[in-house]
């Protein structure tokens, strides 16, 4: 495993130790974040799937009755009937915070100008199928909005999960092992230095003792000599 390129000193060791502590804490937090994001996301994805499967056949129906209307009326008439929509849809997009991911939240207002009717045309010249398709669409619309909101949220969450997962993995498999490896290396290096120092001291002490003994011997030999010659 890759050891960090640092000098093996006590300073660096204590710095690395605190970094390792932070990395481990961060890893735990990230992992929790990832798990929670995943839970929310999967819930969302299941709901989207169900909602889509509900909406799509409905939309199909809208198109079907629209096709019938198209067949029953002449194209200019149809175009004309829908030329000026009577109501408008405005959307208020606010931000919702899901596990520190900003996701949009949509509220829509459907404002019809008069009489609460959604049909922008008179009934005399238009086909009933057109009314039907617009009625269906009106009923379907809140669900479509919900779908849009949820899908966007799911996409953003998926991005965030991917990022978080990478961070978790980077910490777990690269950063933390590198720190541990380096700490171990520094500890061993320091211990080795310590031992080196110890032996050097012992050696020096031995040398000093030997020197002392030598001197002592010389002195006693000299004294012996003086004694015998006297």
């Amino acid at each position: 495993m890759a050891r960090l390129n640092v000098k093996p000193t006590r300073m660096v060791l204590s710095k690395l130790k605190s970094q390792l502590k932070v990395a481990i804490k961060g890893h735990k937090l990230m992992k929790d974040k990832r798990d929670e994001l995943m839970r929310i996301f999967l819930e969302e994805a299941r709901a989207i799937k169900a909602l889509r499967e509900e909406i799509e056949p409905q939309l199909e129906k809208v198109y079907q009755s629209f096709a019938i209307a198209r067949a029953e009326m002449n194209p200019e008439m149809l175009e004309e009937s829908l030329m000026f929509p009577k109501n408008s849809v405005t959307l208020v997009a606010t931000t919702k915070n899901v596990m520190s991911v900003d996701v949009p939240s949509f509220q829509f207002q459907h404002s019809s100008t008069e009489t609460g009717s959604v049909y922008p045309y008179g009934f005399a010249m238009t086909s009933g199928a057109l009314d039907q398709s617009i009625a269906l669409l009106t009923a379907l619309f809140p669900q479509l909005m919900k779908l849009a909101e949820m899908e966007k949220e799911a996409m953003l969450l998926a991005d965030e999960i991917e990022k978080t997962r990478r961070r978790v993995n980077a910490l777990e498999y690269v950063k933390i092992p590198a720190y541990q490896e380096t700490i171990k290396y520094i500890k061993m290096k320091l211990a080795e230095d310590e031992r080196g120092n110890q032996t050097r001291l012992m050696k020096v002490k031995d040398m000093m003792v030997a020197e002392q003994i030598e001197l002592e011997r010389a002195r006693s030999a000299k004294m012996l000599e003086e004694y015998t010659s006297a």
Partner: protein, 106 residues
């Protein structure tokens, strides 16, 4: 205040227009791409695109995927569903989880 738009062929979007959405009619992918480029600059909150064009514009749409709004959502057009909406969710699951664990039954 944001607008809601829909991009698609005339058959698909007219109904939505009657309902009050900003309808953008297009007849081919190139035109749809141009419209998309224009509408993302405006203050749309949601842009629905019929699946036929969504498929063609996939590369452009992924560029806007990171933006909070607009949400660009595929819906089936009058020519029926290509299953793109669902496959988008599937891709998101694959991206997030690493494997498809929701749609595996299909």
């Amino acid at each position: 205040m944001n607008k809601i738009g829909i991009i698609g062929d005339a058959d698909s979007v007219l109904g939505f227009k009657a309902f009050g959405l900003e309808a953008h009619v297009c007849s081919d992918a190139e035109m749809a791409a141009g419209i998309l480029r224009d509408v993302v600059k405006e203050d749309y909150g949601i842009i629905f695109i019929t699946e036929r064009y969504y498929k063609e514009l996939e590369a452009d749409i992924t560029k806007y995927a990171e933006l909070r709004i607009p949400a660009i959502i595929a819906i089936p057009g009058s020519d029926g569903s290509y299953g793109i909406g669902l496959s988008n969710v599937k891709h998101a699951v694959e991206k997030a989880v690493g494997a498809d664990i929701l749609f595996g039954d299909k």
